[in-house]
Subunit: 571 residues, 2 copies
């Protein structure tokens, strides 16, 4: 049935009903038609408009469902609200737009849809089938805008697809998505209670709940949502420095002795970025050795602390990672906390990836000791499936965040407002304007309950155990480290037939190093699935499978394994 | 007409048509009904469901418009996609949700709607009419989720309302909003081309266009979108330090001499925050004197540079503000650039607020000399009306951003991918995951054209000139500084009748200081409009009116003035 037939059929049945709905259905069906067909449909609409304008108008006084012909080719942004008579085109435009989005959402969860339709940068820049990325001086019609939006989605990557495993953040949570839509509709700023009263309170309550889950007494402490784990980690180092050397705030690093930070060689690179940015210098970030599973060796930490002290440096800050990026390793927090207490160092737990496991009664033991941390990074946008961006920095001691960042700008934070201004958060942040990241998370928590997050996390860990058990002894697969992964990270090499007989050595290493990139490139070309790879230390490129996607099932895991075999077998 | 009547009327006319649409209309009308009434309506729906399930089902094979009864009280997040048979409830939920949003949008532009419905923190925390902010262990029904969303909007602030003038970011651009909805639906990350191919290219092209507009030859240079002006300003200081003292990256601030930064006493507090965060110390940020209009006095800069050098410090960085927060002042960039060149200092232009004026042929002269800057902060989410967050840091010299922030984390940025990995942006950023802030801006640019932004900016400046001319000689109003404002900031005191005869002195100052907060509090209680106030230097609290809202008209300006008079006259 083509779109035109659809409209006829619909008009027959829906005679006397709103045109909008007829258009909606046609809208859905025309998505894959050519521009030519589309324009034919629009003409056909116009013809019918004259005949069909008589009924339905008087159902109620509500202008929303007045039957108007919406020819977006003659409409421009300037015709939308706040333009005079802009309400009707605005509603029509948004409804049409939402249909593009809901169509995309449906397809995202449909396994027969590709994960991506890959093109090289130069191809997209040259303009795929008329998709022109260049900006121009003159406005484009809303029809073109709608086409641009369809194209943007078409050439993007479906991060919510059940077979997208490429990042730590995957999946498309419908309630979280709705929360983001509302957030952007409210379009406000976390700066003050004055302009974001509900969101500021939601943030406060949610942070308290997170601190309770961490295990700090009655959820005491402080915290803030920041634009990602790297910034949250940056906060932790800033606050630690302020705690031990508050004069650095006014006098700079010259006021402090040579300060040293410690983190695992497997930890996230944001700790290193922060050492550079905040003026410590990357050389003063000491990397700690790990065991074969990627966990910090506490004795190595203590040895390096002693060594630093002997050189006259001041060990100040230790980052323990709860869920490393590649191996998904959990550093032994309790043993690290003992050393931090002994040498009076700040203990930060980077739980950007692993923090979500705190929601699971079954898995939270992996973070045992987290309640001894001075600060914790926890990104709900990773393991908890919250849409990007959603990252929290949580601090055990109240007042430090404010003390560290406050500049008492009276022209921004008026102390003489009519409400309790302790709810204004702006002066705690290194940002001024701050995006509302809390609402989608709050809404998901309401909708799923704590138990819903727990179920999601347990399911993802079950799936990764399934994958691990499936491939650990499978021909052609070789695990990067032994034993069941602590998190959902499963790291493995795929060994093509041609390499299986080869003895370990430089040639095999060199050839194996090229296998994962080749398979990945083919995966992307065929668009069937996506999974990440990388080298680590002296280990050549291997696949790192991670599961945070709520849409993934065992069959998707099976598919991935078979796809790797299909693509890689004969390399 | 109550909701039940509405449904009857609808059912009469729309007999044989989709139930969904009937529900839609009723949904709109029931928003303000009590829970009791709502539950009655739901029951009434259920009764009718049995009778009405027969028609419309066979229009086409498309499941979207199958008439199903959507009783959200029995649906939960777990019933939505990716759940089995989750497609129908997902679509119904999203459509219902969108109607909440479109309803909100319509009201936002309706001047008979309040700007806000103010409540104190303790009132909201106690639970307004059943609006419970606390998170619980068990899931709530989707019906409750929809109610929560309505309540969230109800108790929030309508930042798009034509009479909301409280912040530099105001207004609700429909195309920008649609762009945000798409962005959250795509839910990806600017980290690599691999997972955000279209967005990465859009960012690249848009940054180039912005650099061209700044006036850098053929748009050469670099840049990145960051989570707000404060972070963009932070980038500028980091990059400047890297340019002059690259060894600080590895060795820390100890490797550099005592570095000094300069900025206006009227500049944004983020420069001060950055001085503290990056290890310079706020004492090494020298504040520059301004003239009575809030513009830096270049001679004061040169004197302070010389003084710092005499003390053996190294002047490194000067921030010139293009559009200060309170006065809207533009520092004289060319004269400052001369001094920067003479003393070999980095020139940063903080155009977070004023950068938008570059789009206007009439007003861009206020930034004359900006092309001589080494870096520029420019927030499209302020004067250009782009939804929050959208801020760019632009850098004239290519390679610095990468050099400064790159940590070459091979496990995150694989050099052996099949595409040109110079498009991967992650290692330039201080963030790792990075929200897609570009799309809404790109889409607005397409939809409005450069000329559309220009018209918006010219209109806002015209309106502020209108306000200035209206009140400059009006009884009861007193301007904070003389002459037409450079930006849309109009700063003034309102003098109640009781203060008008009073001679200048401490008593008058003290009483006047309390006037703006009182009027503001009454404004918020009555919900009619919102405008900011603050003290500045030795000046007691005054109103700072700013206009960036595309919905505002002269009648709204008139309204504001009369509202201030109404509320303040008898204080």
């Amino acid at each position: 049935m083509n779109s035109s037939d659809c409209y006829d059929a619909w008009c027959g049945v829906a005679h006397g009903c709103t045109r909008k709905l007829g258009m909606k259905i046609c809208g859905f069906l025309q998505k894959n038609n050519s521009l030519e067909e589309r324009s034919r449909i629009v003409s056909s609409f116009k013809e019918r408009a004259a005949k069909n304008l008589l009924s339905c108008d008087n159902i109620d006084g509500d202008a929303r469902f007045r039957r108007t012909e919406t020819d977006f080719s003659n409409l421009f942004a300037r015709d939308l609200l706040p333009a005079k008579n802009g309400e009707e085109p605005t509603m029509q435009f948004l409804l049409e737009f939402v249909e593009i989005l809901t169509n995309y959402i449906r397809k995202t969860f449909d396994r027969s849809t590709k994960v991506l339709d890959f093109h090289h940068p130069h191809q997209l820049l040259e303009g795929m089938e008329g998709f022109n990325l260049e900006l121009s001086d003159q406005p484009e019609s809303l029809e073109q805008i709608l086409v641009d939006c369809r194209d943007t989605l078409k050439y993007g990557v479906r991060t919510g697809h059940p077979r997208f495993f490429n990042q730590l953040s995957t999946g498309l949570d419908i309630v979280g998505l709705a929360g983001e839509w509302l957030t952007s509709t409210a379009n406000t700023n976390m700066f003050t209670y004055e302009i974001a009263p509900v969101f500021v309170l939601m943030e406060q309550l949610t942070l308290k709940k997170m601190r309770e889950i961490i295990g700090w007494p009655v959820g005491e402490g402080d915290g803030i949502f920041s634009p990602g784990g790297a910034i949250s980690n940056m906060y932790s180092v800033m606050i630690a420095r302020y705690k031990f050397f508050p004069e650095v705030k006014t006098k700079g690093m010259a006021a402090a002795p040579r300060l040293v930070l410690f983190t695992s060689e497997h930890s996230h690179y944001s700790i290193k970025k922060t050492s550079a940015a905040l003026g410590f210098g990357t050389e003063n970030l000491i990397l700690l050795n790990t065991d074969e599973r990627g966990r910090v060796i506490p004795a190595d930490l203590e040895a390096k602390v002693i060594e630093a002290k002997q050189k006259g440096y001041v060990p100040m800050f230790v980052n323990a990672t709860a869920g490393t990026t590649v191996y998904g390793a959990f550093d032994p927090i309790n043993e690290i906390a003992d050393i931090c207490e002994k040498y009076n160092m700040w203990l930060h737990v980077d739980g950007a990836w692993g923090g979500g496991l705190l929601m699971s009664r079954k898995h939270r033991h992996k973070l045992n000791g987290v309640e001894r941390a001075n600060s914790v990074t926890w990104n709900p946008h990773k393991m908890m499936g919250v849409p990007l961006q959603c990252s929290a920095i949580l601090v055990r001691e109240r007042g430090l965040l404010q003390g560290c960042n406050s500049m008492c700008a009276g022209y921004l934070f008026q102390p003489d407002k009519q409400y309790d201004v302790t709810y204004d958060t702006g002066d705690k942040a290194i940002q001024c304007g701050r995006h509302v990241d809390i609402f989608k998370f709050w809404l998901m928590w309401k909708a799923k309950g704590t138990v819903g997050f727990e179920q999601h996390i347990d399911k993802c860990l079950d799936l990764s155990a399934y994958l691990y058990n499936k491939i650990k002894n499978r021909e052609g697969f070789e695990m990067v480290f032994n034993g069941e992964p602590q998190h959902t990270n499963v790291c493995f090499w795929y060994i093509p037939l041609s390499l299986r007989g080869l003895s370990d050595g430089e040639e095999r290493r060199e050839r194996l190093h090229k296998v994962a990139p080749k398979i990945k490139a083919m995966m992307m070309e065929s668009g069937t699935t996506m999974v990440g790879y990388q080298p680590q230390g002296d280990k050549v490129n291997f696949f790192r499978m991670v599961i945070s996607n709520p849409a993934a099932t065992r069959s998707d895991i099976d598919f991935l394994v078979e796809e790797i075999e299909r693509l890689g077998h004969d390399l």
